[in-house]
Amino acid sequence: MRRHDRALRRACKANFNPAQPRVPRGQPEGGQWVDANGDPVASRRVRLAGEIPTGDPPEIPKERPPTSRARSVALKTVARLLGPMAATAEIAKLGAWLTTYSAEISSYSDSPKSLEELQRAVSEPASGYEIHHVVEQTQAERDGFTREAIDSPDNLVRIPTLKHQEINGWYQRRNPDFGWETPREYLSGRNWDVKRAVGLDALRIHGVLQP
């Protein structure tokens, strides 16, 4: 936190330019610096005094947490923290218990694959990966689609376990791109093609499917 404050102070100091354009006096943002595009400049208005809450992720427990929820939080945190550096040795440094989940942690940072690769991998089960339905199965069933369509090879992909959980969460959280509905609410009652387009997009924006 203090390091961040110092970095912000240095950046603001180094970038200070009294000749930089400002919003004219008399307007609501009068006096505020603007950039070349006329947008308000972020660094100008950051308050440096006092505590800036960061909402830091929790410490990684050294011992295996007793509940699956606590383990899930820890695994997500580690996978996001290490990213592509998630080799077993690096994982072990954070806690010996985590090495049991090395496959889940390291698969999280797989590079994006083609749809064909993800579909082909369905027939090759592997630790750290799960089968994902491109069109969500529960909702598709509720909307009257057959199990045959839902479980067809075209609708199945093998993706990293933690990405699978992340995408499932994404479907349930309100989202500005769906008018602040959840994707699940938005898709309710829509046809297969719309559901599939959103499903493929979810895989792309989560870095699982190539653009």
């Binding site: 936190m1 950039d35 947008d39 972020a42 809450p53 929790p58 997500k76 996001r80 500005p176 924006i205």
Partner: protein, 123 residues
């Protein structure tokens, strides 16, 4: 907090409230508390509306949060300033994607794609 109570807050207090709410969203996502996350979206949109209603549209007061260390705060600050700081807010979204700060990176890329397609028209 009710809409009436928000009216009594200064712009700086509204920004503080916005920060606290989005930090709450960060924790709710981490703990898979989807209902809590969605409730906090509602609260955040109320703050956004209050800032928008202030003379001169004070949503630009969220721009300093583009430098906040927490990715959820930066994400939502950028999402809600697309109309008032169109270029820098897009840069923040692009940075979240480039740094692979998931899950916020997914929302950032979703928005950038929606803007490119013309499906999102910030107002």
């Amino acid at each position: 907090m009710t809409d009436a109570a928000l009216k009594n807050l200064s712009v700086a207090q509204l920004v503080e409230r916005f920060t606290a709410i989005t930090l709450g969203q960060f924790q709710a996502e981490l703990h898979d508390e989807h209902k809590k996350y969605n409730d906090l979206i509602e609260e955040m949109l109320a703050v956004e509306q209050e800032l928008k209603n202030r003379p001169g549209d004070q949503r630009s007061a969220l721009v300093p949060l583009f430098l906040h260390p927490n990715p959820q705060v930066r994400l939502m600050a950028a999402e809600l300033t697309l109309a008032v700081a169109p270029t820098t807010s897009r840069q923040v979204l692009q940075e979240l994607w480039d740094r692979k700060e998931f899950p916020q990176a997914a929302y950032a890329m979703g928005t950038l794609r929606a803007l490119e397609r013309g499906d999102r028209r910030p107002s």
